[in-house]
């Protein structure tokens, strides 16, 4: 009797397991077809889940930015080839004094839900982005507009809900008053944080986040978080860069390697994040369908200028010596397989000469010269305390490899094995906390990805006294003065010239050593053509043709 019951138990268990397996299979076959083939004319692209909800003033990483780039257009847009800021929704942005601007919009622009793009669409969106209680990560983009202190005080509650510097004149005109002169300001307006927002964003915010609505060349058809976003042409789009394909499907991948494998297997068309381990083979694997071009990102090593040991005149010599001890060419070839370019100024080649990129501005200091390096370091009294550390997080981006290579290069130069050591910090947030709390004592990794292709963006946020990303704590009244002067200059050329003077001065003190310019890398399938990356290393989806 006992035995009999027990067998039943086992049998039941087995039956249950079988049933589970069967149901699993059954569910599967019914929901089939979603993954396999894709509609004709649609570009299938690599994507990972954006870090934050996709909304203009709250997106600061590439994946969310990719979507905003497709579904929204601001006053300006950056030319995908030259990086120059060109009018998009704006008809004109004018100013007599570099501080008060009048913005006029073009006729006929509409959001993908059919409502018109008006001056209010911009003003409301900017006010929303700036208000501190909306917790928008990109709030600081509005810091130059008058009244920012009231809606975004450093402490306490905001005293105003809207920026006093923004005024709607009529349906297609509004004025902006800045809190300082900023001649290049109109050219910053191509960044997606400045995108206009339709009424539905404010009336049904969560609904908008589920399915964002913008005025860009594409509209969102469906968005399943963690799986995919399907976009099709926005029939209301008034810009001249209309999509040449029927739509884009962004497919979420768990891993870059899987994306790459899927590209090779022909299940994916565009991958704009090639795994570091595959860079060596990508060119051969993909035939000609491999892209490697400058991307508006510069990597640097910064020094804690707030530390006494690094403040003296002699320390400048040590910093120069360290810079000359680094064999940039070798590292970028051996570790990065040509996807990094040794840096010789503090900007990026995407700016082009007209935009302020000046190769060689750094001079001898950025070229490898072990003899001179050793001499300079010795003249400067040697490394502070006899040795130096290089700190970075090591959880992402294979930072450990290049750090070790850089340290080896320094050690070989000085002929001492323990002169430079790597100080790995396990997580990115811990690393950032240490930097923000000014806890660094030696060199640390700093990098800058531009917000907009302007020389101002490569210098002011990083080297102006107390600027938002001034991680090294560098401060030089002369540099500040030159930047102020540049911002109040009436013409662009003069402004760029003044910024370059400031840059030269920074390089003389060398609070940060330029390492290399980072390239954007992408691969694509033979099913598509005309794939290119814009200066932000995001694929120009509107141009892609599907065969």
């Amino acid at each position: 009797m006992r035995a009999a019951t027990r067998t039943t138990v086992i049998r039941r268990a087995l039956a249950a397991a079988g049933a589970v397996a069967l149901t699993a299979t059954a569910c599967a076959s019914s929901s089939d077809g979603g993954g396999g083939g894709s509609a004709d004319g649609v570009v299938r692209a690599f994507w990972t889940d954006p870090q934050h909800p996709v909304e203009p003033a709250n997106t600061n990483e590439v994946q969310g930015g990719k979507v905003l780039d497709m579904i929204s257009r601001g006053l300006k847009k950056y030319n995908p080839t030259t990086g120059a800021a060109e009018n998009a929704v704006a008809e004109s942005i004018e100013s007599d004094d570099q501080q008060n601007f009048t913005v006029k919009l073009k006729k006929g622009w509409k959001f993908s839900d059919g409502t018109a793009v008006t001056a209010k669409s911009f003003v409301d969106a900017w006010n929303y982005g700036a208000l501190v209680t909306n917790k928008q990560i990109n709030s600081y983009f509005f810091q130059y507009i008058e009244g920012y202190q009231d809606v975004h005080p450093e402490k306490g509650k905001p005293t105003a809900k809207t920026l006093s510097g923004l005024k709607v004149k009529d349906a297609r005109t509004f004025t902006v008053k800045l809190n300082q002169k900023f001649s290049l300001w109109p050219q910053t307006l191509g960044y997606s944080a400045y995108a206009p927002l339709p009424k539905s964003f404010f009336t049904d915010h969560s609904g908008w986040l589920e399915k964002p609505v913008g005025n860009g060349p594409y509209k969102v058809d469906s968005y399943t978080k963690g799986q995919s976003m399907k976009l099709s042409r926005n029939t209301h789009y008034a810009g001249d860069d209309k999509p040449r394909n029927k739509g884009v499907e962004l497919k979420v991948y768990t891993d870059q390697n899987t994306g790459y494998t899927d590209l090779q297997a022909g299940n994916l068309d565009v991958v704009d994040e090639l795994p570091a381990g595959q860079l060596k083979n990508a060119k051969r694997d993909l035939g000609g369908r491999y892209i490697n071009q400058p991307a508006g990102i510069i990597q640097t090593i910064s020094f804690p200028m707030y530390d006494k040991a690094w403040q003296s005149e002699k320390a400048i010599k040590v910093r120069r010596g360290i810079s000359m001890a680094i064999n940039r060419k070798q590292v970028s070839e051996k570790i990065y397989h040509g996807t990094r370019e040794p840096a010789t100024d503090l900007t990026s080649p995407v700016l082009k000469a007209a935009g302020g990129y000046q190769p060689g501005l750094c001079g001898d200091v950025c070229s490898y010269d072990p003899k001179q390096a050793k001499k300079l370091i010795e003249e400067g009294g040697g490394l502070p305390g006899g040795k130096i550390t290089l700190t970075s997080n090591v959880d992402t981006g294979s930072h450990r490899q290049w750090m070790e290579a850089v340290c080896n290069s320094i050690n070989r130069t000085l002929g001492r094995n323990s002169a430079c050591t790597v100080n790995p910090v396990p997580t990115f947030s811990e690393f950032r906390s240490d930097i923000t709390d000014r806890k660094m004592t030696g060199m640390f990794r700093t990098g800058w990805q531009m917000d907009y292709p302007l020389i101002q963006n490569f210098l002011q946020p990083i080297f102006y006294t107390d600027a938002s990303s001034n991680d090294s704590g560098f401060s030089d009244p002369q540099v500040d003065k030159l930047m102020d002067k540049a911002n109040s200059a009436t013409d662009e050329k003069a402004a760029i010239g003044l910024f370059q003077q400031a840059e030269k001065r920074i390089l003389d003190t060398l609070p940060a050593i330029p390492l290399w310019y980072q390239n954007g890398n992408a691969g694509y399938s033979s099913r598509v053509s005309d794939v290119k990356l814009n200066p932000f290393s995001v694929p120009v989806f509107t141009d892609i043709k599907v065969k």
Partner: protein, 307 residues
């Protein structure tokens, strides 16, 4: 037995509280997640303060824990930083991983035990040595190697399967990942079963059963196998938890959006609510699986009783 189950369930409470508290402290101690949200930029202090308030990060850690647990008991696991409720992530991730784990366990039971019985009864024969060698190879090669290799060969070279599993993750597409996931455990199950069978094959009760004239099949399945299964069941029980969490590597390779993927994303992005939430559920799964194993002992061996 009923009383035993109740006692075991009560014992789970302190274990549950202890483990979740440890995880909570560990996740929240590794740095300020708000800092990481701002990327390479220094966070703007005003916005950061607002965000800290939203996620209760401005309070002492014990208070955060109490608040968090309070919410969990009302079914609110909080929001991931991309605004999606963690329960929603769980609702999509767990079914997929459970499907994967069930398939893997079915592989382990069917293939592992069959191979174990075969080799255990034929000790020293070529098939025994062959399988032993094979399991040794399987155990020594890491999962990500077998996974990537299988994916490349079957997916890219021969084109038999799609290298990436689609978001719906039907069982058909999960067969290969499940096999990859099961392989190492499968090898252990084979070896465990083999040893156990080999040991019991010489036991008195087996001789008695044979002497009674029972069929070979009945002797093997009803007498020999049932008595040999206890160590195997113990292993399988603890493996349930391992499979759920250990799917991390396999899920990444095959682009399966399950528990392992969500956990990995949560860790990489310092998404504390996701990590703590998922691990909390995994702890419960682990505890229940262990309870089930203990209860199965009595089914397999009536001499084991519960008081």
């Amino acid at each position: 037995m009923g009383r035993y189950v109740v006692r075991r369930l009560l014992q789970m409470i302190p274990v549950f509280i202890g483990t979740t508290f440890l995880i909570f402290v560990m996740v929240y101690a590794v740095g300020d997640p708000v800092n990481a949200m701002f990327g390479e930029r220094a966070p703007d202090p005003a916005t950061a303060a607002q965000l800290r308030e939203e996620f209760n990060l401005d309070k002492p850690i014990w208070q955060q824990y109490v608040l968090y647990m309070g919410n969990i008991f009302t079914g609110d696991f909080g929001n991931a930083f991309n605004g999606q409720p963690v329960t929603e992530l769980m609702a999509t991730a767990f079914p997929i991983t459970i499907r994967l784990a069930v398939l893997a366990i079915v592989f382990e039971i069917l293939v592992g035990i069959t191979l174990g019985v075969l080799t255990g009864l034929r000790r020293g024969r070529p098939i025994d040595s062959g399988v032993l060698m094979l399991t040794l190879v399987v155990i020594s090669v890491p999962t990500f190697v077998t996974g990537s290799l299988a994916q490349y060969v079957l997916g890219v070279k021969w084109g038999w399967i799609s290298p990436a599993v689609s978001p719906a993750a039907p069982a058909r597409e999960l067969l290969l990942p499940a096999l990859v996931l099961a392989l190492v455990s499968l090898a252990y199950v084979t070896r465990l079963t083999r040893t156990s069978i080999a040991e019991n094959a010489r036991a008195d009760y087996v001789r008695t059963a044979v002497a009674k004239g029972l069929s070979r099949r009945r002797v093997t399945v009803r007498h020999l196998l049932r008595n040999s299964l206890i160590p195997v069941v113990t292993f399988l029980g603890t493996d349930v938890g391992n499979l759920m969490a250990g799917a991390l590597v396999t899920e990444r390779i095959f682009n399966i959006h399950g528990v392992g993927f969500q956990l990995w994303q949560g860790i990489v992005r310092q998404n504390s609510p996701t990590v703590v939430g998922f691990v909390t559920v995994l702890v419960i799964v682990f505890l229940l699986a262990n309870l089930l194993v203990d209860l199965l002992y009595a089914v397999l061996d009536p001499r084991i009783r519960y008081a």
